[in-house]
Amino acid sequence: MIRVILTAAALVALAGLTFGLSYVPLGAAEVPVAMGIAAVKVAVLGAGFLQLLARPASQRLTFVIALVLAATLLSLVVLDTANR
């Protein structure tokens, strides 16, 4: 149960950080900062609540494939918009 409490505490702390930073004019860093913290929160949730690291290889591979495909899509969007 300590795992659940620590994960929840980390998520609350990160949510507080991203909420506080939303009041700061970050300019071009706005998206990397906001979505970077969001990605860390998702990683904490994946490790703490979903326990992805403790799962059999087949399940880990499934999530890795989804992550790679989503990352590929986002990379293509970034490349497209950067070269307009």
Binding site: V4, S22, Y23, L45, F49, A66, A70, L73
Partner: protein
């Protein structure tokens, strides 16, 4: 859990793999919507800042807190199910489902506010704002639908927990339901900054 028979272990691994495949496909669906959001945002940053300022920050932030608490309860339910504690498992699952209903109530209040203020696709908004609000309604609406399904799943799992013999050996059923809820939470952790927090700073 160490006393699982080979058949039960095989059944558990297959069920959890099936849920992993389902959650992966769901995450790619939302991943595509998130990609569209950023593709459209690049050319319309001021409009997307304005859109985010019109979203109700207190609703989005309260919703985040509610979903995080619900996810913690769902995770606790998975752990308690592994120990065979049926009533505690059901209590945590019902608590998570109740928080899911609170989230949906908040969203309904917010949607009503947006409709009253004309913040809907097809209204008299500028083209760039149309993009923001179309994505807002489609993405948060799809997420809210997942929350609604999640509430039903968690409630069913709570009822199933208290009437199942040997819950500890079948804890993967509760864990799978909790996994679905964690996905709902993870998606919101990405949508919250997109539609509420990235507003160019300031109050």
């Amino acid at each position: 859990m160490s006393e699982l028979t080979a058949e039960l272990r095989q059944r558990r691994d297959a069920a959890r793999l099936g849920m992993a495949v389902f959650l992966s496909s769901e995450s790619m669906l939302f991943g595509a919507l998130i990609a569209v959001f950023f593709a459209l945002r690049v050319d319309s940053v001021p409009a997307f800042h304005e859109g985010a300022r019109h979203a109700l920050l207190w609703v989005g932030t309260s919703g985040t807190a509610v979903l995080l608490a619900a996810s913690a309860l769902a995770a606790a339910a998975g752990e308690l199910a592994g120990r065979g504690r049926a009533r505690a498992t059901a209590g945590c699952l019902l608590g998570a489902a109740a928080l899911g209903l609170v989230f949906l109530g908040l969203k309904l209040y917010e949607y009503h506010d947006h409709v009253v203020h004309g913040l809907v696709p097809g209204g008299r908004l500028a083209a760039a704002l149309q993009s923001f609000w179309t994505l807002y309604w489609v993405t948060t609406g799809l997420h809210a639908l997942h929350v609604l399904v999640g509430v039903a799943v968690l409630t069913s799992a709570a009822a199933w927990s208290v009437r199942t013999e040997g819950l500890g050996e079948r804890a993967h059923v509760v864990e799978n339901c909790a996994d679905y809820w964690h996905l709902v939470d993870a998606v919101w952790l990405l949508l919250w900054p997109m539609f509420y927090l990235m507003r160019g700073g300031g109050p």
